[in-house]
Amino acid sequence: MPLTEIDLESITDYLKRRFPDRIHGQPKHVSEIIDELSKENINNIEDIEDLVMRYPPNEYVSKLEHEIGIRLADVGVLRSLLVAKKIDEINDIIDGWRPLPIEPETLRDLNPFVNIGSGISAYLMKSGDDIKIYATNEGELDISFDELGNRIGTGLPYLRRLAGRLESFREVLSQEARA
């Protein structure tokens, strides 16, 4: 069966069918989510459906909705599911590093993966047997959807930069462990 390529029309139809009781994003937001999907290698409607099946919206967006009493639009739901997917991908990479060296017990990366000033910088760090985030404004954060999924400013751009810094941090960690 041929796959349905994602374009403005096909995804708009899909979102209306898939989330009939949610607010539907405006065309410019739908275009933005198409870009986001493309960056995450999701290029047809069937891939989106797989994403929705793998990360049930009730589980992945309801916490935020309950917390601040809002109901996400369809594009907001997809964006949250992409965040969940990205976090899983990052954790898959980190799992490939295991077992982590015992020493040093804690180690913060040399360079932040995000630094926008105003005290908002984030580093990768080793903390015991885990790889975590050290955010200068928040302290230690787990790399999990529970911790990051509903937090302001820890969306896809943040996670992409985190993912981009993983390999460098692994080298820093190896050098420190050898030393």
């Binding site: 937001h29 601040i68 809002i70 594009v75 926008i116 000033g117 969306g155």
Partner: protein, 279 residues
Amino acid sequence: MADKLDDAEKFDFAAHRKSAAVQYAKIRPHYKQFAIAAKRILADTLSNEHVKYHSIESRAKEVDSFGKKAAKPSEFDPTNPKYPNPLKDITDMAGIRVITFLPRTVNEVCEYIEQEFAILEKIDKSAELLDEGKFGYQSIHFLVKMHPSRAGLAEYQSFRDLVLEIQVRTILQHAWAEMEHDIQYKSTIVIPTLIKRRFIALAGLLEIADREFQTLQDENERIRQRKESEIESYIASLRKAFDDGDPSVKEYAIEALKDLSLWLQSEKISGKRDLEDQK
């Protein structure tokens, strides 16, 4: 002879009731129009001011009910009527009732009533009951006339001398009052003390429930405001990063704003418009 004289002097309550009902029936349609006009004024005001309420009802007193009230004996002299001149003495011929969800909205509605109508009298039923050492449903009652600024207008001129009763209460107070009224009216005997006590206890419970609803709403609002303030502060940081940062920081600020905008696509985030502007 003396008995005959007494009979002759005895007030004829039945005739008084009938006469009051006949006179009122003639003017009732006008009162009905008055109540509808007043309801429209208040509903428009509350809507313009974004006051969230459950309902507004308007009514003109039923003819039979008016007659019955007119024939009530005076508490001080039961041989004479409480309302010797019913059309003048009875003040609830036209009425509107505003039912709110929360106690604080009762106060807001009262403020708009005081702004939009000429107030003849304001009675806080709860304070009145407390003064008497009793519990009961809380309700604010107003007697009002058209505001002088409106009374001169052609569409309201015919209502300028009429008096309107306005009641404001929460939905729980309303439920209590309706149930109590229903039992009072259907009961052919005096309501037993035990039932009265249980009604009074229920009024106390509903007052606690009303307060708890208000507290929950306040808490919810506080959480939302805190979240909105966090979002605003984050947007300000991104904006500053965009203004001050190197190209990679600028790029990140734009991406992060887009991401935030997608995330917060919802009807209820008031900062949404600002966010759109920032982009």
